[in-house]
């Protein structure tokens, strides 16, 4: 009986269908078996080694030892190779083990040359199973429910990178979100300002998705902060005390995290988390994300903090992401704001409310430079302006409501619902009117839409990603087109209603905080698994790299000094080089060039 037949017999006992497939499979000429120095067979697949040339079994053991399997309730391996690592895993665990292999021919190759009789009966092998159907496989399903340890066999990943990347996404999609209670998110709010309600909406949305959520609402401390600011007049006192106050709030966030044990800390713009606090989170492997729901061109404090966060979520796209890369941030994602359909609803108006809030045209928001300039041209209409700054604006004071006081969110909904036309002009501190080429949209866009309120919004390129002008929202480019649109829509209430209904439908189905949070979770929690699968947790270990560098390679002396299991980066090699050599060497200069190219990123 040949080795293959012995292996086939073992496989038939656990999976007759797969055994039949293996029997009928023929090998192509893209594989080659080579004897390793230990005498065991190793193999090349499309000229790439599947296992070590030296001691495949021993190296497979070292590779598996990188994973903490002591508490594993299930193991999923990506890639079978010649099965050495599978055998080593079986030696260490007695829990269900599923192996997903993209290329059935590799399994056949292994069965021809390696005695796997002790392995094949103890694992479930899914060979080239369609990714979309994987979740229906009962063994895999059961393993996923047990939060398995996922072990990617790096060399196998090269044989079918796309398949394994899809597998990573699928596993991840199934893993955290199928049992979302396992994902614990702590949301840190600012003390005050526009991102405060967004923190609340985000926390609520995360709960709806099924996460365990802790909202750190810092808004009660705003009063204390204001009081201290008012008490102290001189910056020499105010500055250090503000700093201490922030540190205190940050320490509180850290302490709460110790109790809550989050998987993710999601901070909203201006949340009082210091660099030191973020570094502690990182050292404790708690992921951190900042949702910067502000215009990066107007607020530049992100420059100091950006690199301290693991993930950076932005409401502006490519140009900001380029900037972030220059500041060492590589995981930036575009995540616009949205609406909360549970809150952003048409308000029920009493007769008194209708009287108070009703108007042909309303605007609720701060009196920015461009808004003042543009709205001056609308004073011949029935215009009401709500919010701070309007009563002091010359020419507009007669339109200012409630002595220019702030309005709360409940009032905001009444204003939206009572106005025939709600203006939405994105703020600008230097354009006298509509800022051309604005590169983000504000939350008001979604909130008005979700409330079923008709809005006239300034046209800017990203708007079309969310709503269709003329069908869902009405747009203007300058004062003259604004006036024209106002006249038209005041005379056509049926058109106002049509657009408002369309926008409401779209906002409630597509632009919710729930959808945004789902998106964020898939990035953050799939990326970690993706990184393991596509980059390979073991791939860049010193042992792996030493094997790839011949002894006369310039990097060999540096690599051979490293602990074999240590995962190696350019920075590690650079610091090792600088420590070990008094004078810079040529390899060090090349490594510095590599690092610099990475830091500078894309150039246009």
């Amino acid at each position: 009986m040949t080795l293959f037949e012995k292996n086939l017999e073992a496989l038939e006992r656990s999976d007759a269908t797969l055994a039949a497939r293996m029997r009928n499979l023929t090998l192509m000429d893209n594989s080659r078996i080579i004897p390793a120095r230990s005498g065991e067979p190793t193999a090349e697949w499309n000229n790439k080694l599947l296992h070590s040339r030296y001691e495949p079994s021993r190296e497979a053991g070292r590779f598996i030892d990188q994973y903490d399997l002591s508490k594993a309730t299930a193991v999923v391996m990506a890639g079978f190779g010649l099965g050495y690592h599978v055998r080593e895993a079986l030696k260490r665990v007695a829990v269900p083990l599923v192996v997903v292999e993209a290329v059935p021919e590799i399994l056949r190759l292994a069965m021809e040359y390696v005695d796997l009789t002790d392995v094949l009966g103890r694992v479930r092998i899914l060979a080239a199973a369609p990714i979309a159907e994987l979740h229906r496989q009962p063994d895999l399903q059961a393993s996923l429910n047990d939060s398995p340890v996922i072990i990617p066999h790096t060399a196998s990943l090269h044989c079918a990178p796309e398949y394994y990347a899809d597998l990573a996404r699928e596993l991840d999609r199934r893993r955290p979100l199928q049992r979302p209670g396992q994902v614990r998110v702590m949301v840190a709010s600012p003390l005050h300002g526009g991102s405060l309600p967004i923190a609340r909406y985000a926390a609520q949305a995360l709960r709806k998705v099924g996460c365990s959520v802790e909202l750190l609402d810092f808004s009660p401390f705003h009063g204390a902060f204001q009081t201290s600011q008012a008490l102290l007049r001189e910056s020499m006192h105010n500055g250090p005390l503000t700093n201490q106050f922030t540190q205190w709030l940050s320490a509180m966030a850290y302490a709460r995290a110790q109790e809550f044990k989050p998987d993710l800390v999601l901070a909203l713009a201006q949340a009082p988390l210091t660099k030191e606090c973020l570094r502690k989170f990182r050292s404790e492997r708690i992921r951190t994300a900042l949702w910067f729901v502000e215009n990066y061109k107007c607020f530049n404090y992100w420059r100091d903090l950006a690199a301290e966060y693991d993930y950076f979520l932005t409401i502006q796209n490519s140009a900001f992401h380029e900037e972030l890369r220059r500041h060492g941030v590589f995981r930036a994602y575009y995540l616009p704001t949205a609406c909360d359909p549970d809150f952003h609803q048409p308000a029920l108006l009493s007769a008194e409310d209708s009287q108070r809030y009703g108007a042909d045209i309303s605007f609720a928001g701060l009196a920015y430079y461009n808004r003042k300039a543009l709205f001056e041209g609308l004073t011949d209409f029935n215009l009401k302006l709500w919010g701070p700054g309007w009563s002091a604006a010359s020419g507009l004071d007669s339109c200012a409501q409630n002595q220019g006081r702030e309005f709360d969110e409940a009032e905001m909904l009444k204003i939206f619902s009572a106005s025939k036309i709600n203006l939405n002009l994105h703020s600008s501190t230097y354009y006298a009117g509509v800022e051309p080429n604005g590169d983000f949209v504000n939350p008001r866009l979604f909130e008005l839409a979700a409330c079923g309120a008709f809005q006239l919004v300034d046209d800017r390129p990203p708007l079309r990603e969310f709503f269709e002008p003329g069908e869902e929202v009405a747009c203007f480019e300058d004062l003259s087109s604004l006036r024209q649109q106002i006249r038209f829509y005041l005379n056509h209430p049926e058109e106002r209603a049509r657009l408002a209904i369309n926008a409401q439908r779209r906002a409630r189905s597509e632009h919710t905080y729930e959808a945004r949070m789902k998106q964020m979770l898939s990035w953050i929690f799939s990326e970690s698994v993706l990184a393991e699968l596509s980059q390979g947790r073991n791939r860049e270990t010193a042992a792996y790299l030493s094997e790839r560098a011949s002894p006369d390679h310039a990097l060999y002396p540096l690599l051979s000094q490293c602990v074999p299991q240590r995962r190696i980066t350019i920075d590690d090699l650079l610091s090792d080089s600088m420590r070990s050599a008094r004078h810079q060497t040529e390899p060090e200069l090349v490594l510095r060039l590599m690092k610099n190219l990475l830091v500078e990123g894309h150039k246009r």
Binding site: P161, R539, Q584, L597, L598
Partner: protein, 567 residues
């Protein structure tokens, strides 16, 4: 000099501004082989024949993507980058000119200098410190820190750095047959005839602060059409399509859309057919200059026309008249007021002037009240100057920029002998309102004190350094030598503080700091000798400035001095 390597992987404008230097290298070192490293993004730029023998493209984006790519391991990535460097190592260079202040270039110049040859520019020493090589490079590298005192243009500085004086004072760019054919076809397709007054507009620039507003470009296009019947071409790269489209959309009259439709050679030929280009400070501006088209340069934000303005006579520069101009490169501006101060009627009036062939004296200063307007011309030593069209009041910093730049012209060999104080005043008074003489004289007198104080500090350091060198010959005196060294460090700190207190000293104190930082490791007596040379060089400059100010003060004390100078 047989083999010369020029590292210039910046943008199109920087490449073009290096062309007079390349021409100078070829004229000075007959038969030399020039290799030039260029940014792959602009690799298609055709320089004039004979400027460069070999072009190597630096594909920074490609290398970045490779390093990001997960299919290669770290060893393979290292080998790839090493392979890129190795292609230069087949040749030994006698001279490496490292032009832009860019860490990649510093690393490359260090890697290549290991095979011998002189490096000018940044290089890392064996103990990993970044140092500068060659005296003129210090001016080049400090330019952005002392911009209020500098009148040297980048092109002139580059030729100084290379130690060459090209015969022709112009940028060099090839006009290709393909480019010419494109321009013919393009203009014919838009029915542009020989008699048409063709004006190009370049609304794009690398960042917002450097851009005049697109709606103003649109208004300008309309004004040129209505007032002069001009045919207006909107230029720009494919990356500038949204901006170009906005200008086109906002313009009431039809314009010719060339945005994203031209190759670099096509654009050059198209620009050569235009009567002029109205532009932000861009590569397109330097291309127009290179093909002989006049330019109206709208200088905003951190762009400083004295450094990178159009290198040709007869161009105009418009700058918003605001104290913060030019802003620092790292400044974050929320108001962009400098560009708001440049209005459409002003620019239209300049275009009209050029069309009518009138001299700048035909302009009315009242029409340009919120800006400063300059015209370019080469001065008596062949350096490009941007001189005011109207006689603005001379600021203290501008006055000092004349005095400093005059000194640099002398010490870098552009001017054989210093100018007489009366001639310098006459030169300044020709373009600026310098009255009353007493105010300027008092300013000169008040500036003497900081320069003298600086000179005293520098002399003190020189004396101690000489003493250190003497003590080095006596091993028993090592402790004393070391204590003197710490005293010298204290003097250096005093010098740096002087530079902070009296900003007028900055060009000298920053230069000294760089010189000291650029000293390599060595034995104490060697380091002391190098330091002495550094201090002496700055002491000489401080003395030069002191003497200049003394002579200017004396001249200004003469009755009727400025009256005579400004008549």
């Amino acid at each position: 000099m047989k083999n010369i390597l020029v590292l210039q992987n910046a943008r199109i404008g920087d490449m073009l501004q290096a062309t007079p230097m390349l021409r100078g290298l070829k004229e000075t070192y007959h038969g030399c082989h020039v290799t030039m490293l260029v940014n792959r993004l602009f690799g298609e730029l055709e320089l004039e024949d004979g400027l460069v023998d070999e072009v190597v493209q630096f594909d920074q984006n490609g290398l970045y993507e490779l390093l990001q790519n997960d299919t290669m391991n770290l060893v393979e990535k290292y080998d790839h980058i090493k392979g890129f460097v190795a292609q230069f190592q087949t040749r030994t260079y006698d001279l490496i000119l490292n032009l832009p202040s860019d860490a990649n270039n510093h690393l490359l110049s260090t890697l290549l200098s290991k095979h011998g040859g002189e490096v000018r520019g940044g290089v890392f020493t064996a103990d990993r410190a970044l140092v500068l090589k060659h005296p003129t490079m210090f001016l080049f590298y400090t330019m952005s820190e002392i911009r209020e005192f500098n009148r040297f243009n980048l092109v002139d500085l580059l030729t100084l750095c290379a130690g060459v004086r090209p015969d022709e004072r112009r940028l060099h760019m090839a006009r290709t047959a393909e480019g010419e054919a494109f321009a013919d076809r393009f203009l014919a397709a838009h029915s542009v005839g020989d008699g048409d007054f063709l004006v190009a507009l370049q609304p794009g620039a690398s960042e917002e602060r450097k851009r005049w507003r697109p709606d103003r470009f649109a208004e300008l296009a309309d004004a040129l059409k209505e007032r002069m019947g001009a045919r207006v071409i909107i230029c720009g790269s494919s990356a500038e399509l949204p901006l170009g489209q906005e200008v086109i959309r906002r313009a009431k009259h039809s314009v010719i859309d060339a945005v994203g439709k031209t190759s670099l050679s096509g654009l050059a030929s198209l620009l050569s057919r235009c009567a002029l280009l109205v532009t932000n400070d861009t590569g397109t501006m330097h291309m127009a200059t290179a093909v002989g088209t006049r330019v109206i340069d709208l200088s905003t934000g951190p762009v400083y026309f004295r450094e990178t303005g159009p290198y040709a006579e007869g161009s105009f520069v418009v700058q918003g008249d605001i104290d913060c101009f030019p802003c620092h490169f790292t400044a974050v501006c929320h108001h962009l007021s400098c560009r708001e101060l440049i209005t459409v009627p002003m620019v239209a009036r300049l275009v009209e002037l050029i069309k009518q062939g009138l001299p700048p004296s035909a302009l009315n200063p009242r029409d340009f009240s919120t800006v400063r307007l300059y015209a370019s011309r080469f001065n008596d030593v062949g350096r490009i100057e941007f001189l005011p069209v109207f006689r603005y009041a001379l600021s203290d910093a501008e006055f000092m920029s004349f005095v400093y730049t005059h000194m640099w012209e002398v010490i870098h060999g552009l001017r054989r002998h210093p100018m007489a104080a009366s001639d310098l005043l006459s030169e300044i008074g020709q373009y600026y309102d310098v009255s009353p003489a007493t105010r300027l004289r008092e300013y000169c007198a008040s500036m003497l004190r900081p320069f003298r104080e600086l000179s005293a500090c520098l002399d003190e350091a020189i004396q101690r350094l000489q003493r250190v060198q003497q003590l080095c010959h006596h091993p028993t005196e090592a402790a004393l030598a070391m204590s003197l060294c710490s005293e010298i460090t204290a003097v250096l700190e005093r010098v740096i503080i002087l530079g902070r207190v009296h900003s007028v000293l900055k060009p000298l104190t920053i230069h000294l700091r760089l010189l000291i930082d650029s000293q390599e490791e060595g034995a104490l007596h060697e380091v002391a000798a190098e330091y002495e040379s550094a201090y002496r060089s700055i002491a000489d400059q401080s003395l030069f400035m002191t003497r200049s100010l003394e002579r200017l003060e004396e001249e200004l004390a003469k009755p009727g001095c400025l009256t005579a100078a400004t008549v």
